[in-house]
């Protein structure tokens, strides 16, 4: 086993002076993972995977990149990848967040996709470090059967590999899969594997070469509602008179097993636990503190089933759609609220202003397929620029609102496939002169003044032909 690696390494050394790029691929080979533990949490419809990797530099050159690889089917559903490294010894450990970026590698087998983790300090030869990786998968649980009646519970498939797909040699690895309930219809056995309660354990497996793959299929009950926001448009309108108005338009769908046949209200009301167990009855939105004038409506009017709880640290809005959502059912609604401007708008030292606001969707435990954030800057603001902690598509628009003449600049940001961990802050910088605040009042005042002048003039002019 060691011999071919050495040989390739030697080859790499020979070509090093000629082809710099080979260096990268060669860096793959002198790392190895001495111990890997993976915990897959399937309890909601967002799959959370916690990966603990003990990475060892078995080569001779220091390296600062560690690659994670994913099968192409998972990459499409991958919402976010985060990596942390533990620092310090024993009790004084701290976790440091590391940069993670998608990359391409030239000799990827079967279109495997890669994410590179950039270490703070290059890993020297013979050293090892422990990485904590968290990645979230959306739309990865496939309902089977695809259509269920009201009284049935929702069963889903989850597909993965018993072995961690990795470009590195893994000496020892274990995978724990946590299911939402003890009801597991079936799971692929890859010995040694066993199930206890809500946990399925695969492994430990010893010494698997790079790109080892062993497909598994787990069929289990998951009655958590699959709340998916197909499209969310958040509009944040800044008014320098002291208000920040947020309007959020949702298109919500229950993405679980489709509802089949009748919907019986009498069954739904009399036996709520047995009937429509996977239905989506309410949602919780976490809004910023000091929120005011909250409304919750759709295109045909106010929806009366909502409750707002506020305290000094946060506001919680519990909303019920007009009807319980069964699999495949949709609903659209709008949530709007006002916020005090001073909580979110700040000034930089160089006289610019910036808005500091959360990016993601305020609803808990929901996946957003497509999010558009529109930050409407006040009329007359210039040089807008947005700073977002992850890559988004950006462009500018113009919006005309109350009595605008030149229009307001709108910074539009779009991102696909969001999960609640994307609720981090973003900033929009711009310059604004306070004199523009007076433009509209002055305009109105002058219009009325002219109107009165015209009236006075009319009363004093005799327009009749005959005297």
């Amino acid at each position: 086993m060691e011999a071919p690696i050495r040989a390739r390494e030697a080859l790499g050394f020979i070509l090093f002076s000629l082809l710099f790029s080979i260096c990268r691929s060669s860096s793959l080979n002198h790392l190895l993972i001495s111990n890997a533990e993976r915990r897959i949490d399937l309890s909601s419809h967002i799959v959370k995977v916690y990966l603990t990797l003990k990475v060892e530099n078995a080569g001779s050159t220091p390296t600062s990149e560690v690659f994670l690889s994913f099968p192409p089917t998972q990459v499409d559903h991958l919402a976010t990848v985060e990596a942390l490294v533990t620092k310090g010894k024993r009790k004084k450990t701290t976790l440091v967040r590391l940069d993670v970026k998608p990359t391409e590698l030239p000799d990827a087998p079967n279109d495997a996709k890669y994410f590179a983790i950039y270490l703070e300090n290059p890993l020297k030869s013979g050293e090892s470090t422990t990485l904590e990786v968290l990645y979230l998968l959306t739309h990865s649980q496939e309902p089977f059967p695809a259509e269920i009646a009201q009284s049935e519970s929702q069963l889903v498939y989850y597909r993965d590999s018993a072995l961690i797909l990795s470009p590195y040699h893994i000496k020892q690895q274990t995978t724990f899969i946590k299911t939402p309930s003890t009801k597991v219809e079936s799971f692929t056995r890859v010995e040694p594997s066993n199930r206890a309660g809500t946990e399925i354990k695969y492994g430990p497996y010893e010494d698997h070469p790079p790109y080892s793959f062993s497909p598994i299929l787990i069929h289990f009950e998951n009655n958590s509602p699959f709340a998916v926001v197909e499209e969310l448009v958040r509009e944040v309108e800044i008014s320098h008179w002291g208000n920040l108005q947020v309007t959020e338009q949702y298109t919500l769908v229950h993405a679980g097993a489709r509802h089949k046949g009748v919907f019986s209200r009498v069954d739904f009301q009399s036996r709520p636990t047995l009937n429509g167990a996977s239905s989506l009855r309410y949602l919780l939105a976490r809004l910023p503190p000091r929120v005011h004038s909250v409304y919750y409506r759709d295109e045909i009017g106010n929806i009366s089933s909502s409750h707002l709880r506020t305290d000094s640290r946060k506001s919680e809005l519990e909303i019920e759609p007009r009807y319980p959502l069964f699999g495949g059912w949709k609903a659209t609604f709008v949530i709007g609220y006002g916020l005090p401007l001073q909580d979110f708008l700040f000034e930089t030292s160089d006289d610019r202003r910036y808005l500091n606001f959360t990016f993601g969707c305020p609803l808990l435990e929901t996946v957003v397929d497509k999010l558009t954030i529109k930050v409407v800057l006040p009329e007359g603001s210039k040089d807008p620029s947005a700073v977002v902690p992850f890559p988004v598509e950006q462009h500018l628009e113009t919006k005309y609102s109350y009595l605008d003449v030149v229009g307001r600049t709108v910074v539009v940001m779009e991102k696909k496939n969001l999960v609640p961990t994307h609720n981090s802050h973003f900033q929009v910088y711009y310059t604004f002169k306070p004199i523009f605040m007076l433009a509209e009042p002055l305009m109105l005042a002058s219009v009325f003044f002219l109107f009165f002048v015209a009236c006075v003039a009319y009363l004093h002019i005799d327009l009749s032909i005959r005297k």
């Binding site: 009498v266 045909i300 007009r322 059912w329 109350y402």
Partner: protein
């Protein structure tokens, strides 16, 4: 420069004092009018404050949908709009069958606001159109009454109209219906007519025809104008009040107005063809004849004139007889005598219930009850007679119009509760006149008593100290002793006193003050009583606006010991239909819910509130009153996917489909005779308990309403009918429950797809279908269907 001024100093100061007073009065009445407008607007906002900013009821949803279409697609698309989402499979030509006034008004407001970059939604504009126009209507009332009886009466009438409950019921925020703008148009047209009559100006006559055009655009009630104004003209001619002003007021209106009215697609040639308009043309001829006669009389000597008259009358009579005979023959040849059904039911109140059950089934077409007069116009009902009397003192062209207006509208309101709305402005105008005249008299006499005390102290002293009938007659010593004698009993009844009060107000100016002088105490007390009456009116109006007329009817609330309960089932069902059914699915329901379904759920409906095709409605009525299998056949032939029924039995919502069911049977039976009303009644009684007839218990409406209802409480107790239902356990074979709302108020069923034909059974089932009732029914539909 200074010298001449000082010499004539006395005259200018008096003059400036008067102009200053007038200017002050003008500013004051301007601000009062402004406040009246604000009040008219804000009293109608109870619905927004108590509920939400939402379109109300049924018809407004259609208007809202049309306005949305207009805002989105523009005016030309709007005229050509063929709506295929209603009256499936017939469709409806919206552009040619709606009164476009309201829609165009709201669309224009919306467009104007948006071009000023005020981004209000179409819905917001629609919700607030009615309150805005009620402010306009109260200003128009001011103008009209001012023309009749002066500024004071105008302001009083405007204030009364701003809060008259009858009008509020139709114009609260969200009640986006034709009447909202039509009442303004109606009053404004009348104002311009009176204005033209008073001034004889062609300018106002033209404006009048334009206002009439706006009214024609807005509401079918324009026929009231085009009949009332000719009646008034005729009245003027008969009473010898013909003048050139009358001619200018009337002739341009008929010519221009008819031409303009014919431009509105929904009216079109009806403006000259239907009997509703004949009166105006007849009077048009008469006024010309009269004008001609006056002209001839002017140029001929009296003797020649007499000869001419005999000649013309003998020839003219013969011609007239011939023309009238032809006309009568023409009119009689049409089955409805050239009148539309709604107009006929106005002339003959029993017509609709005899012949057109659809018109009779609408609750607002029923005659009103006495309490509804008190509810809708309150104290005005008592003030109106006083106002009429005031109009006769003196009788002018304008005041005779008001008298005619109130007399006709009282009759119409007695026929249809909906036309209470036409009565309201008339009642406000006459009561405004009455109140204002009474105030004039009382304040005038108080003023006289206080200021005039120095000039004739002995009279006043005699009056105030003794206040006997004799002393007063002595003091007044003129031609009406019996009237002053009435002064004593007047303390007991306000009304009499008011009538009495107006009479002296019309006397000659010189003697007026002295003659009008009522005793100080009686005038003060009467004033207080009048103020009290006004206060009572205001309290009632605010109560009516807040409690009685503000409910949007699509969301219901009830108060119980543990707080407010909201029943938002209608929108729950419509939202469900909107998001969870296919865009082209057809939904069948009773026609009441047609407009709401197309507007809120955006789904195609079979019938809706525009009841233009009786056969189609009868088909749905027949389906609802047929057994399941036959109903399925009918619905399936109409390509229906979902059936929607409204059921109030669980929460006690009384206007549900079971309560409307007899109308379905009646309307269905009117076209398809195999549906017989007695089959659904047990001994003439409509019941759904165990005594109900088997036809009733097996019809589709019963089954869809009560499907699995018994499982809610184990007994199946219907809270509307206050009884246990007759048939408790049954299954549906051709329908399946698709959705039921939280309080069961709306239940939606899906038609099961037709079963696959199994070999061997084919023939049997085929023969069965042809033998069942459905087949003749379908052929019946085909035969009656004018589109096939």
């Amino acid at each position: 420069m200074a010298a001449p001024e000082t010499s004539t100093a006395a005259v200018p100061t008096l003059y400036t004092y008067n102009t200053l007073r007038n200017a002050f009065g003008g500013v004051l009445s301007f601000f009062i009018l402004l406040l009246i407008g604000v009040m008219a607007f804000s009293i109608r906002l109870f619905s927004v404050i108590k509920y939400e900013s939402v379109i109300h009821e049924f018809d407004p949803y259609f208007n809202y949908r049309v306005t949305q279409f207009l805002a989105k697609n523009g005016i030309y698309e709007f005229w050509n709009w063929f709506d295929d989402r209603t009256w499936y499979p017939l469709g409806r030509v919206i552009g040619g069958t709606v009164y476009p006034g309201l829609t165009l008004t709201a669309g224009t407001i919306w467009w104007l606001l948006n071009s000023l970059n005020i981004p209000l939604s179409v819905e917001t504009v629609c919700v607030f159109t009615a309150p805005i126009f009620s402010a306009f209507a109260s200003w128009a009332t001011y103008l009209l009454t001012k023309e009749v009886k002066g500024t004071g009466a105008g302001l009083t009438a405007a204030a009364l109209l701003a809060m008259v409950p009858s009008y509020i019921s139709r114009s609260v925020a969200g009640s986006y219906d034709n009447e909202a703008v039509a009442i303004f148009a109606l009053i404004f047209t009348f104002y311009l007519y009176i204005k033209t009559l008073n001034t004889g100006s062609l300018f106002y006559a033209t404006l009048n025809s334009i206002a009439y055009f706006y009214m024609v655009c807005s509401w079918g009630g324009y026929t009231f104008i085009i009949n009332l104004i000719p009646m008034h003209v005729l009245l003027c001619i008969v009473t010898g009040r013909f003048s050139s002003r009358l001619y200018i007021a009337y002739a341009p209106l008929v010519v221009l107005g008819t031409l303009l009215a014919a431009l509105v697609p929904v009216v079109g040639f009806n403006a000259v063809m239907t009997s509703e308009h004949f009166a105006s043309f007849l009077v048009f001829i008469i006024i010309h004849v009269v004008a001609f006669v006056y002209y001839i009389k002017g140029i001929l000597s009296p003797k020649m004139f007499k000869v001419a008259v005999t000649l013309v009358v003998s020839v003219g009579l013969a011609v007239c007889c011939a023309v009238i005979a032809v006309l009568i023959a023409l009119v009689a040849s049409s089955p409805t005598k050239g009148w539309s059904g709604r107009s006929l039911s106005l002339l003959d109140p029993t017509y609709a219930s005899k012949y057109i059950p659809i018109i009779a089934s609408v609750s607002e077409h029923q005659p009103p009850t006495w309490p509804s007069y008190f509810m809708d116009i309150n104290v005005l009902a008592f003030l109106v007679p006083a106002g009429i009397i005031a109009c006769f003192l003196p009788l002018s062209d304008a005041s005779s119009f008001v008298v005619l207006y109130i007399a006709t509208s009282v009759y119409f309101s007695g026929v249809m509760v909906r036309l209470m709305l036409v009565l309201a402005p008339a009642a406000c105008i006459t009561s405004g006149i009455a109140l204002s005249q009474a105030f004039d008299v009382f304040t005038g006499s108080i003023k006289f008593q206080l200021t005039g005390a120095s000039s004739n102290t002995e009279v006043d002293a005699a009056e105030t100290s003794s206040s006997t009938a004799e002393s007063q007659t002595d003091a007044v010593k003129t031609e009406k002793p019996e009237e002053t004698a009435k002064n004593r009993p007047s303390r007991k009844s306000k009304k009499k006193e008011r009538e009495h009060g107006e009479k002296p107000s019309t006397k000659a100016k010189a003697e007026k003050k002295r003659l009008l002088a009522l005793p100080l105490e009686s005038s003060v007390i009467s004033l207080l009583l009048l103020v009290l009456l006004g206060a009572f009116y205001v309290v009632h109006c605010v109560w009516a606006a807040a409690e009685a007329y503000s409910a949007p009817s699509i969301v219901l609330t009830s108060r119980s010991h543990d707080g407010l309960h909201v029943f938002d089932d209608f929108r729950e069902a419509y939202a469900w239909l909107r998001h969870n059914t296919d865009v082209d699915d057809k939904v069948a329901s009773w026609w009441d819910y047609g407009y709401q379904t197309t507007a809120m759920a955006n789904r195609t409906v079979i019938v809706d509130n525009n009841t233009w095709n009786n056969t189609h409605i009868a088909t749905v009525g027949t389906a609802m009153s047929s057994p399941e299998r036959a109903a399925w056949e009918i619905f399936h032939s109409l390509d229906v996917k979902y059936v929607l029924v409204v059921f109030g039995g669980l929460v006690g919502y009384p206007s549900d489909d079971i309560n409307k069911f007899l109308w379905m049977v009646r309307i269905g039976g009117g076209v398809f005779p195999h549906i017989k009303e007695p089959d659904y009644l047990r001994d003439g009684q409509y019941r759904i308990d165990s005594q109900a007839t088997p036809t009733m218990l097996n019809c589709l409406m019963y089954k869809l309403s009560y499907y699995r209802f018994v499982e809610t409480d184990g007994k199946g107790f219907d809270r509307v009918r206050q009884t246990e239902i007759g048939k408790k356990y049954f299954k549906l074979t051709h329908f399946e429950e698709a959705f039921t709302t939280h309080h069961w108020m709306v239940r939606i069923y899906k038609l099961k797809p037709p079963k696959n034909r199994i070999r061997g059974k084919t023939k049997k089932s085929k023969s069965k279908t042809s033998s069942t009732t459905s087949s003749p029914k379908r052929s019946g539909t085909k035969k009656k269907n004018p589109w096939q």
